[in-house]
Amino acid sequence: MNFMIFIAAFLMAADENTFTRTLHRPLAACTIFGAVLGNAPAGLAAGAVLELGAITFDQLYSTNYILPSLAAAVLAVNGTSATESAAAAAAFFGISYLLKEITGLINTVFLPAARKGAQNRKESGLLVPLLLSLIITGAVYGACAMILASYGNDIVNGLVTLTSSYGWIAGGLHAAGVLVSAVGIAILLRNLNAKQIPGAYLAGFGLAAAFLSANRGWPVLLICGMIAFGISAMDYHIRSESGAQTNETKKIEKGGKEWW
């Protein structure tokens, strides 16, 4: 049983960003976990309720619903009503969100190997890190699901104690997962020679920050993109009309050293 739960959670996590992208949704996941636990209709009913709650959560954060769905399915199969099961499962939204940051941090480890693969022009140099990322993401969720299914209330109570006592670790990992994206942006800034046009960077940041202050969600990057292409179209028009030449002297490596 536990192995089947591991496999189901593994496949759902691997699927989240790849094939159907919907296996982790409560409606599908609760039904699958319900079937594994021996009562698919109970899982289906809990999944229907939890799915409607997940739509609201989607407006705020991008996460997956494997652990909440498993919790809802376990409760529903054990006789709790669909609504109560879904309400209880919502407690795991935060944990799922944190796990996503942690798997992202773990997968960063594969970047140097991928860069080496690029340097050697080896396709396997990219495919292996890609598959390892997929396996690790699946394994993390599979293991968590198996532990959750094995220990039930005990593990939930343990989690409450643990997150209360060591909340800073989870908070730190969450912050680290977010901060590390700054490295990728800094690499691009350097490779685009952004110091020649710092105004464009600050304008983009300012506009996005203004939208975020106004609590605007997903369209921020889309709107910024439209403005960015608008500005660059004007710049292209002016430069192509005037025949202006750009000064593209690149000084990328300080002292001739390389980055990787």
Partner: protein, 289 residues
């Protein structure tokens, strides 16, 4: 030794146009692109791997191919179902042998905005629509509700990918042929778009710092950065980018070193209370049972 991802192409002759089979292979591979999500460069490994069949045909010069794969390993958003539109456009520029700086600028600006649109369409339109229709079926005990919840978005996603790769490539080639007449102007203009979007990404990708408070109980403590983020969202992202840029560009620190430093800052900041501690699990019926 080739510096991965930087420099210019040695062979600047336009490559043969890509055939539909190659473009379809790229579109199918793009399904796996999201699997490589990592904290530093998002989906760059999957993105580069998806483009490989086309890049191998375009770049016959080995050093150019290294350079090309290298710059495609930079930060890119490639998890949405519309991502093949960007892939098609980028491949059109590669086939025209545009300057790598132009390509990375277009890729950065386009992937961020297209991913935003794709995520919006998927998460806020397609999924809620399917969920409401399928949940209604499922609540009557019909398993078809769960099956359709999986199949409908998957089919739409695959169809979008297959169509958009061809659209992006065809339109991209036409646009590139026209714009490449003024290559320098194109390079400068696309760089503005790329750097502008990097500014926007700095704010958006790092806005989640402090957001954990929203999961918390009423008595959760709130970190300093959460309060700062109310004043200027993304401010800490800006500082983190500036810090990383300074150390890497001026002190020649490696990306791996920076990742370790930022993880240490993340943990240290949480320990001394700069960010909000991660909240405990809510008190719910599960615990009471």
């Amino acid at each position: 030794m080739v510096v991965v991802g930087t420099g210019v192409y040695q062979d600047t002759n336009e490559a043969y146009p890509l055939d539909k089979k190659t473009l379809s292979a790229v579109a199918l591979r793009s399904i796996l692109a999201g699997a490589s999500h990592n904290a530093e460069t998002s989906e760059s490994i999957g993105w580069a791997w998806a483009l490989m069949p086309a890049l191998k045909k375009i770049h016959t010069n080995e050093e150019d191919l290294s350079l090309c794969i290298g710059h495609h390993l930079e930060t890119v958003k490639a998890s949405s179902m519309l991502t093949t539109l960007t892939m098609g456009t980028v491949l059109a520029l590669e086939q025209q042998k545009a300057d790598p700086e132009t390509i990375r600028s277009v890729r950065t600006a386009m992937s961020a905005s297209i991913d935003s649109l794709g995520t919006g369409l998927f998460r806020y339109l397609l999924i809620p629509f399917c969920a409401m229709a399928c949940a209604a079926l499922a609540s009557e005990g019909n398993t078809l509700g769960a099956v359709l919840m999986v199949i409908i978005p998957a089919v739409i996603s695959i169809v979008c990918r297959m169509i958009l790769i061809n659209t992006g490539y065809a339109k991209g080639v036409r646009a590139a042929e026209s714009f490449m007449k003024h290559a320098d102007a194109l390079k400068h203009a696309s760089r503005i778009a790329g750097v502008f979007m990097l500014g926007a990404l700095s704010a958006v990708m790092t806005r989640a710092i402090g957001s954990a408070a929203e999961f918390g109980n009423a008595d959760s403590s709130v970190g300093i950065m959460t309060l700062v983020s109310y004043v200027l969202p993304g401010l800490f992202g800006l500082l983190a980018v500036w810090f990383s840029y300074t150390l890497m560009a001026k002190k020649n620190r490696s990306p791996l070193f920076m990742v370790i430093v930022l993880i240490a800052i993340g943990l240290l900041g949480a320990l001394i209370g700069i960010w909000t501690p991660y909240p405990s699990v809510l008190n719910v019926p599960w615990l009471a049972s």
